[in-house]
């Protein structure tokens, strides 16, 4: 009989970063070196993380496949499993199953193109994997733009990396916070130098150009995605060149538990990565 697809790898938490209120990043190492050796994944894939006693939750793998030997995940506390996870410390053990799902077609569709990342709030982690993957292979791409916004300065995740990308000559980073998010009374602890406004508006007002040599990757809350997709099309990005990563509730990650489907498209199996041309053919069950 084949191996048990529901049995998780045991992972040790080797680092924890507080990203934003109720949002943490775990760096995880495989407990068994032989499992680490066999493991590989591609940008865009996800996993199921278990807090023993509470259950499993689905998050993307937020680290880049170009950085081997460990994985990272970023999550916001939203329920029982994430609450238990958030209470864990360095050295604790959690379970991980994966990698599951498809991935971004980097070599086939992104090489040689201008890449624009558009992310909102907790939508940066699924894209961050691809951002580092792109930056680690920087000479394969033309311009790299990153547009990232959150409700407030506090809610921006990966602040250290935003600083790093800001400093790079070969990256055009545009950050924004919703109106009021730059104010000290809303928790802003710095003299905010970025934009103030919603992501789709800031994107539209930017110098970023669409066209057939340009690919956009969008991730964020549904309302942000909705407005951003319309703006990207207006900017000249073709629906085939606009990618997003879908999320639906999942229990198995492998196409069996039956709840993540959008019509005949199973987010866990056929997704999560999908381009706008394909997405527009599906019913609105996401």
């Amino acid at each position: 009989m084949s191996e048990n697809v529901y049995k998780p790898f045991l992972m040790e938490i080797v680092d924890i970063k507080e990203e934003a209120p109720n949002t943490k990043t775990f760096k995880l190492n495989f407990k068994k070196p032989e499992e680490a050796k066999k493991f590989s994944f591609k940008a865009g894939q996800f996993g199921l993380y278990s807090a023993f006693g509470s259950g499993e939750s689905t998050f993307c793998i937020a680290s880049s496949p170009t950085r081997k030997d460990y994985i990272e995940c970023t999550f916001r506390i939203a329920g029982r499993v994430t609450t238990q996870l958030a209470n864990m410390n360095i050295g604790d053990t959690l379970g991980f199953r994966g990698p599951y799902g498809n991935s971004f077609p980097i070599e086939e569709k992104f090489y040689g193109k201008n890449i624009t990342f558009v992310a909102g709030g907790i939508g940066l982690p699924p894209v961050r994997c691809l951002i580092w993957n792109t930056l680690d292979l920087r000479d394969k791409f033309k311009d790299v733009n990153i547009v990232y916004g959150a409700r407030t300065y506090q809610d921006l995740v990966y602040k250290n990396e935003l600083n790093e990308w800001e400093k790079r000559e070969d990256v055009n980073l545009i950050t924004t916070v919703d109106p009021g998010g730059e104010k000290p009374e809303n928790g802003c602890t710095v003299d905010w130098k970025g934009h103030v406004g919603f992501v789709p508006t800031v994107l539209e007002e930017s110098n970023i150009k669409g066209g057939k040599d340009s690919v956009a990757i969008v991730c964020g809350p549904p309302i942000m995605i909705k407005f951003t997709l319309a703006i990207l099309e207006k900017m000249g990005f073709s629906p085939e060149n606009i990618y997003t990563t879908l999320e639906n509730k999942m229990k198995c990650g492998i196409g069996k538990c039956g709840r993540c489907n959008v019509g005949n498209f199973y987010v866990c199996k056929h997704g999560p990565v999908i381009n706008l041309a394909d997405l527009s053919k599906l019913p609105q069950e996401y």
């Binding site: 009989m1 084949s2 191996e3 048990n4 697809v5 529901y6 049995k7 998780p8 045991l10 278990s50 807090a51 023993f52 006693g53 509470s54 259950g55 499993e56 939750s57 939203a78 329920g79 994430t82 050295g91 604790d92 053990t93 379970g95 549904p222 999320e247 639906n248 509730k249 229990k251 198995c252 492998i254 196409g255 069996k256 538990c257 039956g258 709840r259 993540c260 489907n261 959008v262 019509g263 005949n264 019913p283 609105q284 069950e285 996401y286």
Partner: protein
């Protein structure tokens, strides 16, 4: 391999089979319902219409532990898989339920193999029984199936009056017959005719007929139609249709702790008719209305598995209609879909 089993020999066969396996067969429960249960010998019911409950639960358990975990005080975690290896022989399975098991076998295979279900199937001998009598809600012929189909069985039986006509289908089935050859008798030349006789009389007695096979690849065109509301308005979202469906494969997965240090990771049947089935942690719900959930169930059975596996995931057993507390009939839904499809093609 063709044999006869005299009816008075049935109990000695079951006794013999029980020596190294659990024998499961339709019996009358104390609630006056026919269900598949582990049997001794005499109480087995191999006549009448199909049981109210399908034998699905012996392949895809209603609830099962997938692994146990222990967390030592030092923080060391160990995970131990649950692994059943008990042999079982399921007897009296009607062709509709055999089709359902075949479907489950394919569904739980593929790139990611569900070892719990596939191991249970490997450890099972499935003995089918030609269906002599449809229930009021049966519509297997509408799906292109027949009451004497042998697909999915290891052995097929058919009631031939004083004896059962027995046919070994797979190697596993033939071996079982071989191991009990003193209980069986040789068959006569025209014994097999019982199958065509049963087919003819049973099919004639089926009340509900609509050619669902003609709707293959067309059901999706009814997605945006207004037929769903008619049914969702009366649907109470109880999920009885899904729990009684022999091809419903969806499940929930959760952990339960027995103490601070140990517990188990288990799965349990779940239903797409429940609001929480697709509810995101954020509060967003892609199928938040009863209408969307009812449509999902129908689309899944008659379109999505056609897209994915080139087959309907409905066997026409009619249990969903039989158990629905508000009388929603799958045949009525299919007739409405047919009308939408036909109108669209005009």
């Amino acid at each position: 391999m063709r044999k006869r089993l005299q009816k008075q020999k049935l109990s000695s066969l079951i006794k013999k089979l029980k020596e190294d396996a659990t024998v499961i067969a339709p019996v009358m429960t104390d609630k006056n319902e026919v269900d598949f249960l582990p049997v001794n010998s005499e109480e087995v019911i191999l006549s009448g219409a199909r049981s109210l409950y399908s034998p699905k639960k012996y392949i895809f358990k209603q609830s099962e532990s997938m692994y146990d975990y222990t967390i030592q005080d030092s923080g060391k975690v160990t995970v131990k898989e649950s692994c059943e290896n008990e042999k079982q022989i399921i007897m009296g399975i009607r062709p509709c339920d055999l089709h359902a098991i075949e479907y489950m076998k394919e569904f739980y295979s593929g790139k990611y193999k569900d070892s719990y279900i596939l191991r249970r199937l490997e450890n099972s001998v499935l003995i089918g029984l030609a269906c002599t009598e449809p229930s009021t809600n049966c519509f297997c012929t509408s799906l292109g199936n027949s009451p004497v189909d042998t697909d999915g069985s290891d052995i097929m039986m058919a009631d031939a009056g004083s004896f059962y006509f027995v046919k070994g289908i797979t190697e596993k089935g033939k071996k079982l017959i071989e191991n009990n050859k003193d209980i069986f008798e040789d068959s006569q030349e025209d014994d097999e005719r019982v199958l065509s006789d049963i087919k003819e009389s049973c099919e004639k007695a089926i009340l509900e007929k609509i050619d669902v096979t003609a709707l293959k690849n067309k059901v999706g065109s009814a997605y945006n139609s207004d037929i769903w509301k008619k049914y969702s308005d009366i649907c109470v979202n109880c999920g009885a249709c899904t729990f009684n469906c022999p091809t419903c494969t969806c499940f929930d997965v959760a952990d339960t702790s027995r103490s601070k240090n140990e517990g188990c990771h288990y799965r349990t049947w779940d239903t797409c008719q429940n609001f929480a089935f697709t509810l995101h942690a954020s509060g967003h719900n892609p199928r938040s209305t009863s209408e969307e959930r009812l449509r999902q169930r129908v689309m899944h059975k008659y379109q999505y598995t056609v897209d994915q596996m080139d087959q309907f995931s409905c066997t026409g057993c009619g249990r969903c209609t039989q158990v629905c507390p508000v009388g929603i009939s799958m045949i009525a839904i299919l007739k409405d879909i047919k009308e939408v499809v036909d109108n669209g093609e005009e």
